[in-house]
Amino acid sequence: MVITGYVLEIAQVILALLLAPGLAGFVRWLKARLQNRRGAPPWQPYFELRKLFGKEVVMSNNASWLFRIAPYIIFASTITVTLLVPMIVAPLALDGMGDLLMVVYLLLLGTFFLALAGLDPGTAFGGMGASREMTVAAIAEPTIALAIFGLALSAGSTNLGRIVTQELANTAVTLSPGHILAFVALFIVTLAETGRLPVDNPATHLELTMIHEAMILEYSGRYLALIEWASWLKLTIFFTLLSNLFVPWGIATTFDPAALAVAVIALIVKLAVLGGIIAVVETRVAKLRLFRVPELLGASFVLALLAVTSSFVLK
Amino acid sequence: MIFFLLLLPPLIASLLALLVRPNREFVGWVSALLSLISFGAAITIAAQTIAGDVPIWGLAINSLGLEGVLRADSLSALVLVCITGVAALTLFLSSGVGRVTHYDAKQLRRYQIFINLFIAAMLLAVSANNVGVMWIAIEATTIFSAFLIPLTLRKTSIEASWKYLLLSSVGIGLAFAGTVLAYFDFVSRSGRVENALNWTTLMATAPSLHPEVVRLAFVFLLIGFGTKAGIAPMHTWKPDAYGESPAPLGALMSSALFAVAIYAIARWKAVTDAVLGSGYSNNLLLALGMLSLIIAAFSVVRARNYKRMLAYSSVEHTGLICLGLALGPLGAFAALLHLVNHTVAKSLMFFLVGNIERAYRSPLIERVHGLLKVLPQTGGLFAVSLLALIGLPPFGLFVSEFALFRAGFALNQPVLMGITLVLMSIVFVSFIVHLNKMLYGTPTEGVIAGKADRLWNVAPLYISIGILVVLGLTLPTPLAILLKQSVEIIAK
């Protein structure tokens, strides 16, 4: 039983790694369709990864060892997060290894090194990207913390496994106003953290409007592959959090194969739905000016604060 | 007998200086050595009072009022030790004693005559039992010191002396009026008695005196002796006189003379309290003490002249001591301890300032830079003693200020103490700022260290620092007893 748990952990990581490019590709495909284009197929990102792993790396002569280890740290920290996020089964065997705060800070670890790597070659764009990325990350942080608080308030824990099981046990919580507000707040943060419109345009070619892309302009080959993969993984993680923490239905609470199968399907469906929402949103909205982003995040903070307050009042 | 050992040495020294003309170096040495005898006598008196004796001496000549005219209880002993100690230090460090001097023989002669007379007058004031004699002696200190301020006749020194002289005379005149009023009260109650002005008699009669008269009398006395002590707003002579007087005189005036004036106030306060209870005098002292603190604190902020800055520091400490005296036995203890500490620290300060002024030929802060480089000994000592003066540990003033605040808060005066703390912080910061300007930076052009900065020449000052540290870390038992007994005398 214990071993099954650990096997499932590893299986979940592999599943996440496999799903992540597909999710990104799906969003892109859907966006293309919404732009009345045919677009690349959803599995296009897999090809891109494969291509990038096959290419050489060209590194700036100004860059240092930090530039070379950063992709591994980013990738490793993101995978570590997937060890903690219940995707198909809750609680996970390693649930006690970390809680939501750990998740957030592990992701921040990745962002931290990505920003440093952006500064390392000494280009203006890298610095610009790093500066903006850290600004957005910092301002998004309070909302995340409050959303966590809100969840903890209703579930009585910040460990993800317990939040999920608690909610499954008490479904009334799911549709409470606090929960919904927290969901919206976290959704906005997801847009910011994963570099989606209206905060950042993942498809831009224009350096001056970039955030995430600007930092990785110097990366190539396998390093770029790792970073891209990690960022898709991050998207998947946020989607999983949004879906499994707020709408935990379908997730397995036992290691029963049938339940697990249902859970995988449920997960894919939920990710697809969220991907669809993102695609719709990205089609609908224009990119905000950088200095309007704090207003958006401020709004999400207020939503999260309301979420916590209403949860508290209703408790 | 012991009083002769106390009072005669300075008189002899003065006489010697008068007779030997032109002045020779040995006069200085003799008077310095004689001062040690006085110091020894003061210590002996202190020892006697600690043992419970109260040395007393008088002439039983009828109708002269000289019966038991000299008396030294613990309070006197305490102040006497302070005075003789500072006097010894002063005389050893005076110009013309083994040091280069910039005075001519005539000036040195005058200096030796009057400084010893000045010391003698102070000693007499403190050892007098008769408050009239005390008054006379204190008035005499004004006169003798006025001769000393303008050793070299400059415009500013004359100005300072005149102001000092007139303010002190007026003040002391008012104190005399107060004394007369007290005597008047005594007489109208108990008739004319020759030794009525004896402190012991006054204290014994006090409970039956008329409160309304004593109230008035104490105002005159407080203003009068307060002028001498430099309580605001009668402090105005201090910056001028301290700024213009030669270092040894500054040292004596700021520490010993100040102690004498405080002594007189404390004595009269005891009498007043015996009549009126302590509330009345306490309120007056608190009011004037606070005023002194306020004026001193804000005057220091923008000080430009380091000698005058020290004068304001004196005003500040006057204020503190006034507060202490007004804060019951605990406060009186703190005040007296502070008086001792201040005596040591302030006298020290003036010698250092003298060295600095001689080297830099300017009393202005803005002209003094790189003190630590130019005069390493003096500069270092100056920094240390300034820190001691603003109440930093491990120096005595820290402990006595702590005791003062303890007394204040214990008496439920948090607002007053709070204001005091704020004002003291202002003084502290200002002093640090001024000190930094002087200690560091590129040395001012054309400054010569001279011999004054040699280790040997400042060695006695290390003793002062040592005393301050000892007082900061511990309280020697004899001193503790002396203080306790003194407190019993002035605050019951």
């Binding site: - | 109708s63 006379i136 007369v180 002005l197 910056p239």
Partner: protein, 219 residues
Amino acid sequence: MNDALFSQLTTLGSSVILLYGFTLLWRKSLHAYTVAFQWQSVMLTGLFLIIGYFGHDVELYLVAGFLFILKVLILPRYLGKLEQRFPGERESRPYVNVATSLVVAGLLVLLAYAITRPLVLVSDLPTRGGLPLAVGLIFVGLFVIITRKKALTQIVGFLVMENGIALLAVLGTYGIPLIIELGVFLDVLMGFLVMQVFVYHIHDTFESIDVDQLNELRH
């Protein structure tokens, strides 16, 4: 009868002494000040004698003698010397003009009356009526010192104040103990001498005995 006379005499004497104090306020020449002080001291001596006589205090005669020597003979003589040294000096522009000075002095005497009320009530001496006048004289002396510019005037003011204190002492207590009195005289003399020396210094350095020139030391 005797007491009443005594009382009237002392009050009258005190009043005259106070009036001599007022002289300082309306005259301008230094010489007039010296003279006023001299006469005031004469009156004071007389008062000492009266009180000595009525109060049966022999000591007071002695004190009166010293007083006469010091304040009527010695001090005016020195003052005279000083004013001859500086012939041009007049108290021409005091800080407070004559009229105001007189009004203020009057108010000060009134104040003295108010303040010394307890003294008068407490004392049962026939001389008590003069006590307010004595305190008033102290105030007036102080006022002169404050408002007059010449160093010499200030000295005279100071001496007048001293006279006021002596008056207070003699009226209130029939004189303080002799030895103290003598000490006081000595102090006054020495103090005067010092001041006199300084007046010369001031004149030598500032070429005038105007005290308001002494304003270099400030802050």
